[in-house]
């Protein structure tokens, strides 16, 4: 079955709600509206208001209550309407959700998922466009997973829901409807702690995640026509990083380009760069290149400014070529 990413996520949620009674969804406007992007459309009708719950407009409340229910045997899947609005729940996520297992010496666990749409390029302005993953990629105990397409989204979401650890599952808004592919069946689950080699290559490696994976694959294909072999690695797990796969993939060419939509300084790709520098400096053949957003507070609304913000991603092809020739 060919689906776009939002429909794949919808199907994944539906299949999981059928599979396990302990699972319930909670979020703002996810009931009769079906969510801001339609991820839960029709699910309240199908499963009832007890399992697909519209919550009051309070993110700390949503995450905090979900955590409490997870401590008592439920498996909540929270939807934060836009990742930009997750910050009222920051304390619950950082101080409570991520630390629960550790602070109770494994007595309690928090099997819960927090889904949130992120990313720019949709003229969402400062507060409907942000890439917030770096803030959460510093919380041992929490997993941060970002799918790059419909099939992965469904298969990763299922694993996240079935995991006994809390997972922050970030979905790029622009990927929701722009990517279409055949998705797996109800039991297709991909590991949420492993990076995926999307394309092998021996001249250079692009490491990225989310929406940019498909872009990187396109650039790799284009450069293949020029006779270059470019690899593409999808991080999938933003935290903790799948270091083994990253290092293996990077060794092949010794040339690595890192790509992310978040602000450059303090970005998760900087951590990848640090890992490479620390572990395989002597196998690198060129300085590590990072392509990321300029260090301005967020994505501005006006199209000209938004384009300027995202311009770095348009340079991917030439930067990759430059790295190959280095």
């Amino acid at each position: 079955m060919k689906l776009n990413m939002i429909d794949a996520i919808h199907l994944g949620l539906q299949e999981e709600l059928v599979r396990d009674e302990k699972i319930y969804l909670i979020g703002e406007d996810i009931g009769r509206k079906g969510g801001a992007f339609g991820a839960t459309k029709g699910l309240q009708e199908q499963f009832g208001a007890d399992r697909v719950m519209d919550a009051p407009l309070a993110e700390s409340g949503i995450v905090g209550m979900a955590l409490g229910s997870a401590m008592a045997g439920m498996r909540p899947v929270c939807e934060i309407q836009f990742a930009d609005f997750i910050f009222p729940a920051f304390n619950q996520i950082y101080s409570e959700v991520s630390k629960l297992r550790y602070r109770t010496n494994n007595d309690f666990e928090a099997p819960m998922v927090i889904r949130a749409p992120y990313g720019g390029g949709i003229q969402g302005g400062l507060y409907h466009s942000q890439s917030i993953e770096s803030f959460f990629a510093h919380m041992p105990g929490l997993r941060v997973v970002i799918p790059s397409g419909p099939r992965d989204a469904k298969a990763l979401l299922k694993t996240a829901i079935r995991s006994n650890d809390p997972v922050l599952f970030l979905e790029h808004k622009k990927a929701y409807r722009s990517l279409v592919e055949v998705v797996g069946d109800a039991e297709e689950c991909f590991p949420i702690d492993q990076a995926i080699m999307k394309k092998q290559g021996t001249d250079c490696l692009i490491i990225t995640y989310g929406l940019f994976v498909s872009k990187a694959v396109k650039v790799a294909e284009k450069l293949a026509e020029e006779g270059y072999s470019v690899g593409v690695l999808d991080l999938v797990s933003i935290y903790p990083l799948d270091q083994a796969t990253i290092l293996d993939a990077a060794k092949a060419s010794g040339k690595v380009l890192l790509l992310s939509e978040g602000n450059k300084e303090g970005n998760v790709i900087s951590e990848v760069a640090a890992v490479l520098a620390e572990e395989i400096l002597f196998e690198l053949d060129a300085p590590i290149k990072r392509l990321a957003a300029p260090d301005v507070p967020a994505v501005p609304n006006a199209k000209t400014l938004e384009d300027a913000y995202l311009h770095f991603s348009e340079t991917l092809e030439e930067e990759t070529r430059a790295l190959i020739l280095f």
Partner: protein, 325 residues
């Protein structure tokens, strides 16, 4: 639920146990053995009563740091709280990972809480939601200090419980001070009845220093909650008979505040009532006190001698390991 006769002796035992443990904790702190003490001294009255009224098999609690009497009445043992105080390997709350007085024990239905205040209010809602979804009986009790009513999570929790009609007994332990900040600098209400009204949930104020009256008031409330699951907000008027914690000397308190507090010691009040109503004899009380003192001496030694967590467990249990729990 069938009504059982009120067990005054049991409540007196718990009260004295909590008080004497508290006193030993301070001694251990002042001798440099325990890094941190935060006390429930003055908060014990209603906690002792509440512990009798809950059913640990079906009910849950999400306590805060002043609830030593409550957790002792809800499955924690003298040994376990000493191990917690000293961050020992066998501390059932966290294996020595959290600061002392941060409770949490799944087996006893006590939720784990952190240090940022008031987050547990929402967790209590979650447990109540889970009970409701699973069709299970039981209520969830959660507590905070009065200063913590300024936190956003306090309000989100009351609203969520109201909207989803969750059987949560929210208790504000009102000692009229938050660390050093006096009540009038924290909020302008005379009491918290306004919150009951705002969130459309039942509100009651009780004298939390009085075991007897607390018992009666809470009994009524809990019976109602069991009959018809719903949230209730209780304001328990209590006193803080110590400084905020062992890292504080309370030197900022004025004369009036000190006198007020010292006149309302739950232990003295309960003793006087028990004697006046001839519910427990002076001899019995003395006997209980002596037994408990001996017990505490014994447990102190055991706990001091217990093993510390091994350094190589530092990285354990960040994520699920092996076959899981």
């Amino acid at each position: 639920m069938q009504k059982t006769a009120i067990n005054y002796e049991k409540m007196y035992e718990l009260l004295i146990l909590a008080r004497k443990i508290d006193e030993r904790f301070w001694q251990l702190n002042r001798a440099g053995e325990a890094p941190f003490v935060i006390s429930g001294k003055g908060h014990e009255g209603f906690q002792v009563a509440l512990a009798q009224l809950l059913n640990q098999k079906i009910d849950w609690m999400a306590p805060y740091y002043r609830d030593l009497p409550l957790v002792l009445g809800f499955g924690e043992t003298p040994k376990s709280v000493f191990l917690n105080l000293l961050s020992k390997a066998d501390d059932t709350n966290s294996g020595g990972r959290q600061m002392a007085f941060h409770w949490g024990n799944q087996a006893n239905h006590i939720l784990s809480h952190s240090s940022p205040v008031t987050t547990q209010f929402l967790h209590a809602c979650g447990v109540a939601l889970a009970l409701k979804k699973q069709g299970q009986p039981g209520i969830v009790v959660t507590t905070v200090g009065d200063g913590s009513t300024s936190q956003g999570d306090f309000h989100e929790a009351l609203n969520f419980a109201s909207v989803f009609n969750l059987p949560v007994l929210f208790i504000i332990e009102n000692n009229h001070i938050a660390m050093s900040v006096a009540q009038e600098d924290q909020y302008k209400q005379k009491d918290f009845s306004g919150f009951g009204q705002a969130y459309q949930i039942k509100y009651a104020k009780i004298d939390g220093t009085n075991v007897m009256s607390s018992y009666q008031d809470l009994q009524k409330i809990i019976e109602e909650m069991r009959a018809e699951p719903q949230p209730v907000l209780v304001e328990a008027d209590v006193v803080r008979l110590t400084a905020h914690s062992s890292d504080d000397d309370g030197s900022y308190l004025n004369e009036q505040e000190r006198n007020y507090q010292e006149n309302k010691d739950p232990v003295t009040i309960f003793q006087q009532e028990l004697l006046a109503q001839q519910l427990l004899s002076q001899e019995k009380m003395t006997e209980i006190e002596e037994q408990i003192s001996d017990l505490i001496d014994e447990v102190t030694e055991e706990a001091l001698a217990a093993a510390d967590p091994a350094a190589d467990t530092l990285e354990q249990f960040v994520y699920e390991e092996g076959e899981g729990k």
